[in-house]
């Protein structure tokens, strides 16, 4: 196939990319790392996730023996999910996280006691 025939064929084929946000997003693959999900019921307060998180996203709350996190810092490495012994942390498929407010409700996880939320 030469250069010209490739170009001509491309004229009649669909674009390579998806016109998001005009069209719905492409489905994410299995194993996609999106926003962190936390189930405080299952958490035993072992702090392993705090130790391995590269960005200090997760904070330990000593009184409740639970954790709180702010997704604004998360780099979606899923290291915390891997070490959590009880499966209290999971990665969701949600990647629509853009916002102009860093105190956005969607970024916060875990029991309340966050400075940003009390404004």
């Amino acid at each position: 196939m030469g250069l010209v025939s490739w170009i001509v064929r491309n004229l009649f084929s669909r674009p390579m990319t998806n016109r998001f946000p005009k069209t719905p997003p492409v489905p994410v693959p299995e194993g996609f790392r999106g926003k962190l999900q936390y189930d405080p019921e299952k958490c035993i307060g072992c702090q392993l996730c705090v130790r391995v998180c590269p960005t200090q996203t997760i904070k330990f709350l000593p009184e409740e023996k639970k954790i709180a996190f702010w997704v604004g810092r998360c780099v979606f490495c899923s290291q915390c999910v891997e070490v959590c012994p009880t499966g209290a942390l999971q990665m969701s498929k949600n990647f629509l996280l853009a916002s102009d407010d860093m105190h956005d409700e969607r970024y916060m996880g875990g029991p309340a006691r966050r400075r940003g939320m009390e404004r």
Binding site: Q56, A68, F69, W70, G72, R73, H103, M108, R114, R115
Partner: protein, 176 residues
């Protein structure tokens, strides 16, 4: 050449210590490293010895570090490059006292070393004698004079230059 033989040869020239790392990585390949210490006065002859023994060892990098009581430069060379599964990384460690941080350049043997020596010079404050271009390389011109980012003593980054606050809306942020 056998790793231990190579080490002995280099130790003879430098008069220093050294050891060999030889670890298995996969079924066929091994990770081969030779570490040897040299004196500030004779490290160039160790490097010359390498150049003699292997036509053009490849200069990999120069590590500049602060060991507390002294500074250290590690000149690391890849020898046997181009021979499948035979490469050896030879690292020559040179100690430099803090009160007289001078060391000779190797840019006459390896012109490409200029970039690493310029980096070492601004990062831990060694004075590379004979370096053709002594300007700063990585840190900006308006960074204070006499502050060396990777020094661990009073010449390192003073506390007031550290960024203290991070935009973390949770309580008890470790960076505070």
């Amino acid at each position: 050449m056998d790793l231990n033989q190579l080490l002995e040869e280099l130790k003879r020239v430098s008069g220093g210590e050294g050891f060999v790392q030889d670890q298995e990585m996969s079924k066929t390949s091994r990770r081969r490293r030779v570490w040897v210490t040299a004196d500030r006065r004779n490290f160039r002859s160790v490097i010359l010895k390498l150049v003699e023994m292997y036509t053009y060892p490849q200069l990999s990098f120069i590590v500049a570090q602060d060991l507390g009581d002294r500074l250290q430069l590690i000149y690391s060379f890849e020898v046997n490059s181009g021979k499948p599964l035979e490469a050896v990384e030879v690292s020559v460690k040179v100690d430099i006292p803090k009160d007289d941080p001078r060391i000779a350049t190797i840019t006459d043997m390896f012109p490409g070393a200029e970039v690493y020596e310029r980096e070492a010079q601004e990062m831990i404050g060694v004075d590379v004698v004979g370096l053709p271009d002594k300007r700063r390389l990585l840190i900006p011109e308006d960074f204070p004079e006499g502050v060396f980012p990777l020094r661990l003593d009073e010449k390192g980054i003073p506390p007031e230059l550290w960024k203290k606050k991070s935009p973390h809306p949770l309580e008890g942020d470790g960076n505070e």
